[in-house]
Subunit: 225 residues, 2 copies
């Protein structure tokens, strides 16, 4: 609950991250099952950290919970934690990163034809269908964490921006400007849908909200004062 201004503290190491875009662990959505005991163990602690983080931060607040509290509960050393996650924000945003990772995969596997706006929307709807029950349990608390901590919000926005850049790269189209504008617009619609979904997060209603948000895009341009 104490949502202090401590949030600005975590900026330090985040600043120094040169290899920012590097992936530190195998993408959770890639279906490669860990075969060896070592890999299974590592994945288990990874999940335990991400899972405990959401609940623990949800109880005591992101800024008000020292990282040591999480480490103590999961019984992992600090060194091990930072081999699995890049920062305190990183572990808290696991669900968000999984979403966008899956979205990129779905976009790649989508047949690109017709209006690009429909392609982007369809891919997100497909992504929402692919996420499992466990993810839907972790995602709403994560959104509340983001809403309550400016530091987390900044990280989430930054990750979103990276995903957008990657989208532009993969959808490569002659007119870069219009493509980028379209993607920015779609992501904005996604965020608007999330905001309306956020208070109660009624399960199953997110696709409808997203559709409504996207269908308002055109008319918003003609909005009069």
């Amino acid at each position: 609950m104490p949502q202090c201004g401590v949030s600005l503290r975590r900026a330090y190491a985040y600043r120094r991250r040169i290899r920012y875009g590097a992936v530190m662990a195998p993408s959770p959505s890639s279906p490669e099952q860990p075969v060896t005991l070592r890999e299974r163990k590592k994945l288990r602690t990874r999940r335990a950290l991400a899972d405990t983080a959401v609940t623990l931060f949800g109880e005591r607040g992101f800024d008000g919970t020292p990282l040591d509290a999480l480490l103590e509960q999961v019984e992992v050393s600090r060194r091990t934690f930072f081999r699995n996650f890049r920062s305190k924000e990183d572990v808290a945003l696991t669900a968000v990163k999984e979403l966008w990772g899956t979205y990129l995969e779905v976009v790649d596997a989508t047949e690109k034809s017709g209006p690009l706006a429909d392609v982007l929307l369809g891919a997100m709807l497909g992504t929402l269908e692919r996420m499992d029950e466990d993810w839907y349990r972790r995602f709403p608390p994560t959104l509340r964490l983001i809403a309550g901590s400016p530091a987390l919000d900044g990280h989430a926005l930054r990750h979103c921006a990276e995903t957008q850049t990657e989208l532009v790269r993969r959808l490569g189209v002659p007119d870069r400007l219009e493509l980028r504008l379209l993607i920015e617009f779609f992501v904005a619609a996604w965020r608007c849908a999330l905001d309306e979904w956020l208070p109660d997060c009624p399960p199953g209603e997110l696709p409808a909200l997203l559709r409504r948000s996207c269908s308002s895009m055109a008319s918003s341009l003609a909005l009069e004062a």
Copy 2:
């Protein structure tokens, strides 16, 4: 046992957290000239810090420059610095914050009539005219700093999001969803224009780039794969 002191400190910080988005010093664009010597002195060190920060971070990189280097060069103690700025990122983003602060003022002073998209664009063009020469000298290096540091980018995105929220509040309109979509779209167009301006930042060409970006908004929605 040390928990006692910690909780006290957190409680205090919690009170101060409320003015997270608040400006810590008199807005530089508000024409209130400081009359007393005390105010003039404070403003002078503020400007010195922001100015030196841009050049120093530009030379050695934002992540690679310890805050102490800046403090030593300006000959200010750490305590004084943090009374003027909330964080290392804050001082680096001074030019950006000045821009959006002025933008909000211009929007308030604008006659709202006709398409809101035109109002938003016109206000930004007016803002660009109002910024002085000193600002145009500091803004491009700031953009390069942002492009080179994910941490700065995250903070800039977050600040931008706050400004958008404030815009929605001030332009209060029955249909919040469409208004927010429009604002998100306009800011996206602004960012696109900045990206095209960024490499060389030819002076005076930014308004034209912004116009072009905005005029592409409608056609981007109809983009085909």
